[in-house]
């Protein structure tokens, strides 16, 4: 299995509401922003001020590009740090909770984290099972 396939499988099996799920979402947003930035979509951000871009392009397309860029930029500045910080808090709270209730394997308990190696054999439901 290639690295990309393993990664895709791991991402698919990672529950959305889990430390790793938050990090995956943060990663997806960051990569999406980097792609729009690499495509130079920032030059369409002027549509926000009501000014069409200087290039010959339909206003609708420019508005779509501009809005996509700005939304992803805002997401990277505001949402990504919250997701990352939230993942760390979530992880430590779970660990603390697990220690206090010996024998219990709290929700998300088998979920991989960034540091953890992906468990490619785990079934999708495994992470939430008791």
């Amino acid at each position: 299995m290639t690295v990309m396939k393993r990664l895709r499988t791991w991402i698919r099996r990672t529950p959305a509401v889990s430390p790793a799920g938050f990090l995956v979402l943060a990663g997806v947003l960051t990569v999406s922003f980097l792609i729009t930035d690499g495509m130079g979509l920032e030059r369409y951000a002027c549509v926000l001020s009501g000014s069409p871009p200087p290039e010959v392009i339909s206003l609708e397309t420019a508005a779509m590009y501009g809005a996509a860029y700005v939304l992803l930029y805002m997401a990277v500045v505001i949402v990504v740090p919250i997701l990352t910080l939230g993942a760390a808090i979530f992880y430590f709270v779970q660990r603390l909770s697990d220690r206090r209730t010996p024998g219990s394997e709290s929700g998300g308990d088998h979920e991989p984290t960034v540091a953890a190696a992906p468990d490619t054999n785990a079934s999708p439901g495994a992470s939430t099972s008791h």
């Binding site: 529950p15 509401v17 889990s18 938050f22 920032e42 030059r43 951000a45 002027c46 926000l48 001020s49 009501g50 000014s51 069409p52 871009p53 200087p54 290039e55 700005v70 930029y73 805002m74 500045v77 505001i78 740090p81 919250i82 997701l83 990352t84 910080l85 939230g86 993942a87 808090i89 979530f90 709270v93 779970q94 909770s97 709290s106 929700g107 998300g108 939430t128 099972s129 008791h130």
Partner: protein
């Protein structure tokens, strides 16, 4: 429901609660802190003396806009299609900024004075060739101006102000004549009515345009030793009586020649109004600024912004005001011009918060020695630049008044 399924649901619910609480806690930590990543050092934008490095970079962007005909044509095409007024106001604010920069740093005179002349000359040429309608929105032709011959105070006032700024740097007979002619026209239009105000559009008087015209007349008084203090006093008395919105104490933005309001106090007008009134009635100007700050400042979480309307007045969003950010109630036009108010009244705290916002949401782009804000346009950049360098021109005019 069996025990296993129930336990599974409990576990899932617990995980969702923990996840939600973690995100809420993370947001509670991050949101009040995010402004610290964008909070600028004010001295690099607006130092007490000289021109700040950031202002220089912004000026470079404007200089290259005016030096590169292709680029200007390209950018103007987009801007003019949205609002031809922006083309004109971009000129005014940049010329005012150039004059202030020369006053702040006389070594810039050699580069900036010819540019001021080029912009003014080109503006006068365009006006001569295409008429004032070139700089007005299309609805200016939808009805005849009530006063004939038709004149727009928007165009006359700002041209007079540009000429005045040029003459404050270095007087010149051609510009002196042009300014005197323009001021005579402005005064004849303004005096000829119950409100002492002139039309910018057919039967549409804007306090913004009328106060800019007052500032131009005041600069003319300084330059040519004329005296219109009686007219200023009558104008202020009329405005206090008929143009002040009772709930806020702010001047309304738009009215007809008879003084019937079309709109209430508007953020995209009031900040510049207060700045222009500094040349005419400093106490009234400060009063207007402080009221505007109280009514329109929407700053939160370390970010500065201003709403277009006070809470006691609901008006429409138009092409002047631009978009408003939902929830935060930050309006683009009002927040942009709030920079001028904050700088003019030495409100460093508000100015820093506004700069924090523009450093974040304005998408600053620095390259090739130029700084521009991608979320804005040339007129927005020119307004921002002016706010970072304003002061010396007004100080010269008011200093003499103080000494008289």
């Amino acid at each position: 429901m069996d025990a296993t399924s129930s336990g599974h649901n409990r576990s899932r619910l617990r995980r969702f609660c923990l996840g939600g609480l973690s995100l809420a806690l993370a947001a509670a930590i991050w949101l009040p802190s995010v402004h610290l990543c964008f909070r600028p050092d004010l001295s690099s934008y607006r130092p007490a003396d000289g021109v700040g490095p950031k202002a220089r970079l912004m000026a470079n962007r404007q200089v290259s806009f005016w030096s590169d005909a292709d680029r200007r044509r390209r950018e103007l095409r987009g801007m003019r299609s949205a609002n031809p007024e922006w083309d004109f106001m971009g000129r005014t604010f940049f010329v005012l900024a150039l004059a202030n920069m020369i006053e702040r740093d006389p070594s810039l005179r050699g580069e900036y004075l010819p540019l001021m002349d080029a912009i003014i000359d080109e503006t006068l040429d365009v006006e001569r060739t295409d008429g004032m309608f070139h700089f007005l929105m299309p609805y200016a032709k939808s009805a005849p101006f009530r006063r004939q011959p038709a004149r727009s105070l928007f165009v006359d006032g700002e041209i007079a102000l540009m000429l005045g700024a040029r003459r404050l740097i270095q007087d010149d007979e051609t510009y002196r004549r042009a300014m005197r002619e323009r001021i005579d026209i402005i005064l004849s239009q303004m005096r000829n009515g119950p409100m002492l105000c002139a039309e910018s559009y057919p039967d549409e008087c804007w306090t913004f345009c009328n106060t800019m015209a007052l500032a131009a007349i005041r600069i003319g008084d300084y330059l040519d030793q004329t005296d219109h203090s009686d007219f200023f006093a009558r104008w202020i008395a009329t405005a206090r009586k008929k143009l002040v919105h009772p709930e806020t104490g702010l001047l309304v933005s738009e009215f007809d020649l008879d003084g019937d309001w079309h709109d209430g106090p508007e953020g995209s007008s009031i900040w510049m109004i207060a700045h222009c009134l500094q040349l005419v009635d400093a106490d009234f100007a400060r009063d207007q600024y402080e009221r505007a700050r109280k009514e329109l400042d929407q700053s939160r979480l370390g970010f500065g912004g201003a709403s277009e309307w006070p809470g006691s007045w609901r008006g429409p969003m138009d092409v002047d005001s631009g978009p408003t950010v939902p929830l935060l109630n930050f309006n683009a036009g009002s927040s942009g011009l709030a920079f001028i108010g904050a700088a003019a009244f030495d409100d460093d705290e508000f100015l820093t918060r506004l700069l924090t916002s523009v450093s974040f949401a304005g998408l600053p782009s620095e390259s090739d020695g130029e700084l521009r804000y991608l979320a804005g346009n040339q007129v927005g950049d020119a307004v921002l630049l002016y706010s970072l360098v304003l002061g010396p021109l007004w100080d010269r005019v008011t200093a003499e008044a103080g000494g008289q």
